[in-house]
């Protein structure tokens, strides 16, 4: 009975998601905000595995956004101009120098690169707990940011550099599918369906992982590491898998952002972004899959629609001399504090955490 209701609801959501773009202009600001919000939701789902399921506070998630976006820059543009590699790309890109792979291949490449980086970042934190993990991951995120900015002076041979720093790798390929053609920025609907499809895949993987042996191992480690290890859970493998899988999703979303923004610029990869994604997971409810989706969509809309388009003039109307977009991170910080103090379990709490965070004597 409830199972059928769940499936019906899921089907309904998917159909609504697919037909949603027909209600809005094909290049409207709302459509743009929706695409970004869905891509944020994918990232939030990735971070939720690390922070929510496994309980490893990761403050350097921006590293995977950066690596994902750079995977796209490296594998889907003329940036490595000495190379001539073309796999299943549009006729135009086929003639250009550089590495040009099909977007699906880049997506897989980004996931692999980020999974490897995630495991690498996880390694020094294995012996540590709590706050220390947060600081090590933060340090990694910052190092990747510094390398991205200064990558112009890191030469990889043949006059080519590692990144283009704050100039950005521009003219990246738009996604191309044989039979459909290249995506253009005048019609945003294909972009929406692409990221929606990615979201569905990531969501499905998340749901299956949660109920798997691995998912239960993560929760067990989160709840009590000593007990979990003595029950035979392999600590190293389980933790590293959490970092890797979480990172892979962030990388996929990052690759999408790279092609959607048509540029990979080192200035995008700031510490604030890590906190922004973390805020999505927290506001949705740590460890809750649907919470991460709702949190990602909510903050995505607040950040890209509500604050810049709707409320931006509010302080000026109140006689204050600033724009709301200037203080958006302050607003997210405020949301984090309020959320933690008033409703630490999030909007859609995971059942186990709700029980944990409700004082036993409360009704």
């Amino acid at each position: 009975m409830t199972r059928w209701r769940g499936r019906l609801l899921a089907g309904l959501l998917i159909v609504t998601g697919i037909v949603l773009p027909f209600g809005f202009g094909s290049a409207s600001g709302f459509m743009n905000a929706t695409i970004i919000a869905v891509a944020y939701a994918v990232m939030a789902l990735g971070l939720n595995i690390v922070v929510g399921f496994a309980g490893l506070l990761d403050l350097g998630y921006v590293a995977f956004y950066a690596l994902g976006a750079y995977s796209l820059g490296w594998l889907g543009s003329g940036f490595f101009f000495k190379a001539h590699i073309h796999v299943l790309v549009s006729a135009v890109a086929d003639t250009l120098p550089g590495v040009h792979l099909n977007f699906i291949l880049i997506l897989i490449g980004a996931a692999i690169i980020c999974a490897a980086a995630g495991a690498l970042i996880g390694l020094p934190t294995l012996r540590l707990r709590g706050d220390y993990i947060a600081i090590v991951t933060l340090a990694f995120g910052e190092i990747i940011g510094v390398v991205a900015v200064n990558g112009q002076s890191v030469h990889v041979g043949g006059g080519m550099t590692l990144t283009a720093g704050n100039l950005g790798i521009s003219a990246v390929d738009a996604p191309y599918f044989p039979g459909i053609g290249s995506f253009g920025l005048l019609d945003l609907r294909p972009w929406y369906w692409l990221i929606f499809a990615i979201l569905l895949v990531v969501l499905f993987v998340n749901l299956r992982l949660r109920d798997s042996r691995l998912g239960r191992a993560w929760v067990a480690l989160r709840e009590d590491e000593v007990a979990a290890v003595s029950m035979g859970i392999p600590l190293v493998k389980t933790k590293l898998l959490a970092y890797s899988i979480g990172a892979a999703f962030g990388g996929m979303s990052g690759a999408f952002f790279g092609t959607y923004y048509t540029e990979v610029n080192a200035g995008q990869f700031q510490f604030g972004f890590s906190i922004f994604i973390l805020a999505m997971v927290i506001i949705g409810g740590l460890g809750s899959i649907w919470g991460a989706v709702v949190g990602g969509l909510a903050l995505g809309y607040i950040n890209n629609y509500l604050i810049p388009d709707v409320l931006n003039g509010l302080p000026a109307r109140l006689g204050l001399n600033f724009q709301l977009t200037e203080v958006e991170f302050g607003i997210f910080g405020f949301l984090l504090v309020i959320m933690m103090v008033l409703r630490p379990q999030g909007l859609i709490p995971e059942r186990r955490r709700r029980l944990e965070l409700t004082p036993p004597d409360a009704p």
Binding site: I135, L138, E142, L286, F329, M340, P344
Partner: protein, 383 residues
Amino acid sequence: MGLVHHLEPVETTTISPAPPPAPPPAVAARPLAAVRRYAGRWGLIAALAALPVYYGISDLTHGYQAGFVAGHAVIHHDLSKLGFNFAEGLSNGAIWALIAIGYTLVYGIIELINFAHGDVFMIGSFTAVGLWATLGLGLTTGALGLIGGLIVTLVITMIVTGSLNVLIERVAYRPLRSAPKLASLITAVGFSFILQNVGLLWRGGSPQSVNDLIRAQQPVFTIAGVPILRGYILAFAVMIPLVFALTWFINTTRAGRAMRATAQDPEAARLMGINVNATISLTFALGGMLAGAAGLIYALYETNVWYFQGFKAGLIAFTAAVMGGIGNVRGAVLGGLIIGVIQSLADSRLGPEWTEAVVFGYLIAIMVLRPRGLLGEQTREAG
């Protein structure tokens, strides 16, 4: 609920400056652990010494460019450039040390990384700069007026940042004391962003230069070819008395004893009649006051202030606190000075754009080699 209610009964960190030697935990059972302990300590020391030794040898053998005379590069083969790096690094380190003490005190007592601490330091800088404008201190103020004005500024700034830190604890951390620790770390990050945006609205988004009141870059005397600037002397003249006052306070006063007791076991301290909440507030006040003093020195020394300065300073100071052994005041000072030297070496040899990466690389190296730091003891968090 007690803070350490669910913890294993291991030796917790202490904020007393005289840590007893850590008991060897089950060396016989795990011989590798003992090896790792010594390898970790010496590995960390080797990693720390690597940069100065490498650049010292390189200066002596290959020399360094000291300037141009008639179009030709002048190459020197001595250690005075390294000495200059050290002098600058140590005085920068004095600022980081003051901030690091704030991290270490708070961590020692409630095992929380007060993420907003760096931004309290930034607010300290802004308050100081605002105050000396209010007091009318300028480039033309006489020496006596300047010293008097700066002392007034220092006191008011310390009161402001101390109160701010207490307020943050009251609003953001105390309600979550019994919640999982992740919760208060997240509110700490949230508060850091709030303070940054307060700073952004206060003084705009780009670094602002302020009056060079004490002519910080003016040399006072020279030791072995290394000019000692006024800014260096200021940093130590403020840092050393404050650190001595703090250790005196923690070691001898009744309130200091309450702090140490709470750090060891809040539950037992409460049973002994210590007002734990007041003691925690006092700890935050002390940490905030030192951050305010650091903010004043920073503004006088660097002669510019920026809303984002606190973020970077906070991370550097946190690295310093971890390096020295978190929970240990002497360790925080030592770590601050070391990080200052590393930073100054990286600034001058690799270029300032890489400094952040070097400092964070060291942070990760500490975490791998010796998570409890140079002087720290074993804690549950940093096993």
